[in-house]
């Protein structure tokens, strides 16, 4: 099965500052790939690169290629890229409170997507919008379509954003921290909606998050970024059971859990380095408990491990019974 979205050693810079360094990812239909890391790791930038939206923030792809369904997005014309965005690729933003145009009615904001990408008439587009809203369990869809964004709550707005992402019959949805700005009980609703979409419609979902708990609960595979590089990537089960990269292990260890001993939560010393001062060698070495002389000098390359890849000179060996 070929990957729907494939990032081949993508490097990205904003101005003259290199921010992403050789990120390789792939995502198949019907799968959820979690992209995790702390702020400054390059998660959102990866999403922008996958959407072809880097120019908006003054960025550009400096190496590698982003492929959607086998085609290089970088080689497309602007019009072709626009046809993908909103059409075959839907996007869900981080903060639903600011994601909608405050001076346009909800319905029109959703309608425009199916009119643009599916060529529907006004009337057909509205019918489709109402159907989508109803399917997302929005009560009184017709009233909501006539409402202004400021009249809706955060959770409701995020459903509208999801409806916009779905309106163009996408094959891939990219969701950038879709629950960070929401209350915990509402987060669970939104995550459940997104999970159900993948299951019921066979979509692919690139879920960007800082929350390892969300990844563990809904993702099939996970890619861990650190300071613009891929640290580890692979299926969720084995990675949570036995993380190979010390950073992955540390991230999982940062989440308080039931039955955790007092004092067990220590965090990761130091902080994510600024893009202007990435350390040489492995960028994690100043915070790493396993760092050796080698790590100071030479950046580790992603190497296959079990069903995934890890970029570490001192990766934990795979558990018994696996290659």
């Amino acid at each position: 099965m070929t990957a729907l979205l494939q990032l081949e050693a993508v490097s990205v810079a904003i101005g003259t500052v290199p921010l992403l360094d050789g990120i390789g990812l792939s995502l198949e239909r019907g799968r959820i790939l979690g992209l995790v890391g702390e702020s400054g790791s390059g998660k959102s930038l990866t999403a922008m690169a996958a959407m072809g939206l880097l120019p908006l923030i003054g960025g550009r792809v400096t190496g590698g290629a982003v492929r959607f369904d086998g085609q290089d997005i970088g080689a497309m014309t602007d019009a072709q890229r626009r046809a993908l965005r909103g059409g075959r690729i839907g996007f869900v933003t981080q903060n639903p409170m600011t994601a909608l145009d405050p001076v346009q009615r909800i319905g029109e904001q959703v309608d425009v997507v199916s009119r643009l990408h599916l060529g529907l008439s006004h009337r057909a587009a509205r019918a489709r919008t109402l159907e989508l809203l109803t399917r997302l369990r929005i009560p009184e869809a017709e009233a909501v379509a006539e409402a202004w964004p400021h009249q809706l709550s955060g959770g409701m707005k995020q459903r509208i954003v999801i409806a916009m992402a779905l309106a163009g019959e996408p094959e891939l949805i990219i969701a950038d921290e879709p629950t960070t700005a929401l209350d915990v009980t509402v987060q669970a609703q939104i995550i459940q909606i997104l999970g159900a979409l993948v299951r019921d419609r066979g979509l692919a979902l690139l879920l960007i998050t800082h929350d390892m708990g969300v990844v563990a609960q809904v993702c099939d595979r996970v890619a861990v970024l650190y300071a613009g590089r891929l640290a580890e990537e692979g299926p969720v089960g084995p990675i949570f059971a036995a993380p190979a990269h010390p950073y992955t292990a540390a991230l999982i260890g940062c989440i308080p859990q039931d039955g955790m001993a007092k004092g067990a939560l220590r965090g990761i010393p130091g902080a994510v380095p600024s893009a202007l001062a990435f350390p040489p060698g492995c960028r994690f070495h100043p915070r790493c408990p396993r760092a050796s002389d080698l790590c100071h000098r030479i950046a580790p390359l992603p190497t296959p491990r079990a069903e995934g890849r890890v970029a570490c000179h001192h990766a934990s060996p795979p558990p018994e019974g696996q290659p």
Partner: protein, 308 residues
């Protein structure tokens, strides 16, 4: 919305009263006896006595204000000292000239300002932006009377295309409108550009791009619409600012409008006329802000919601 409109118009009443108190008291702040200020030098004692009764000048100040206000509300603005005619007549003569000039200047500033602002914002940090913003800076730093004189020098004296001054034909309006309008254009262009650039960076614009809309449609259909909200707000607040430019420019071009009347009356100490001119300008300012608030409510549903 209608309830808001009624409330907003009712709000004008206290504002009008405050303004009228200020304008009324000007007469009493001016050095000298109010009656001397109201009469020509050397008037007869009978005229003085009549004036005292007419304005109730022998009564306490609040009563005087009441008399004055009720006269004003009935359209009686007093008698001009120099012209010896009802002030209302003078105002009626001058007002159309000022309305035409102010209205056209406002229109010119808005259209040219928004247009230039949009071009500058779409070409941010490239040469069209730099050129426009440079011109805008120049336009806002030249004293308007001086700009008027220079335009007169170039277009009327050297090139001979347009009449020098007066109000005999519509061509005489071109230079005054340009003179006032350039200052307003600078203001509007600057706000439009900044608001568009600011709006372009908002989250919802990223999402519009992610929906696959074309950049031009996003800029003109969404970003500009947002940018116009602050433009309208500031324009409404600064309507008086543009009218203020009209005062000096009317004098430069010797146009028989309110500004010329005001300056002339000030120098002639013809205070009833001064008061009337100020009252007119104040009303224009008040109506301008009212219009701005209404437009804002029309353009922005959030404003409407806050008012409901």
């Amino acid at each position: 919305m209608i309830a808001y409109l009624v409330r907003r118009i009712l709000m004008l009443v206290p504002v009008f009263l405050a303004v009228s108190v200020v304008i009324f008291s000007i007469l009493h702040f001016i050095p000298g006896d109010p009656i001397d200020n109201l009469l020509k030098i050397g008037s007869s004692p009978e005229a003085r006595a009549e004036m005292e009764v007419r304005y109730g000048l022998d009564r306490p100040l609040p009563v005087q204000y009441g008399i004055w206000l009720s006269n004003v509300l009935r359209g009686d603005l007093g008698t001009a000292i120099v012209a010896r005619r009802p002030v209302a007549d003078l105002i009626a003569q001058a007002l159309p000239h000022s309305l035409a000039l102010g209205g056209l200047a406002l229109l010119f500033s808005t259209v040219a300002g928004v247009g230039l602002g949009v071009i500058a914002a779409l070409n941010r940090d490239r040469w069209p932006d730099r050129a426009i913003m440079g011109g805008v800076l120049l336009g806002s730093t030249m004293p308007s009377f001086w700009l008027g004189l220079i335009l007169m020098l170039v277009f009327s004296v050297w090139l001979g295309w347009l009449p020098v001054s007066g109000a005999r034909s519509w061509t005489a309006l071109v230079l005054p409108v340009l003179t006032i309008g350039l200052g307003g254009t600078a203001l509007v262009a600057r706000i439009t550009r900044v608001s568009m650039i600011e709006a372009s960076g908002r989250d919802f614009v990223t999402l519009l791009h992610a929906k696959g809309l074309s950049p031009l449609r996003i800029q003109l259909g969404h970003v500009l619409r947002h940018a116009l909200i602050p433009v309208v707000t500031i324009l409404a607040l600064r309507i008086g600012w543009i009218l203020g430019g009209a005062v000096t420019v009317e004098v430069v071009f010797a146009r028989p409008g309110l500004g010329t009347l005001l300056i002339k009356s000030l120098s002639q100490h013809d205070y009833p006329v001064v008061q009337a001119c100020l009252l007119m300008l104040a009303m224009a300012v008040m109506l301008g802000t009212l219009l701005g608030d209404i437009l804002q409510a029309v353009m922005d549903p959030r404003v409407r919601a806050a008012l409901a």
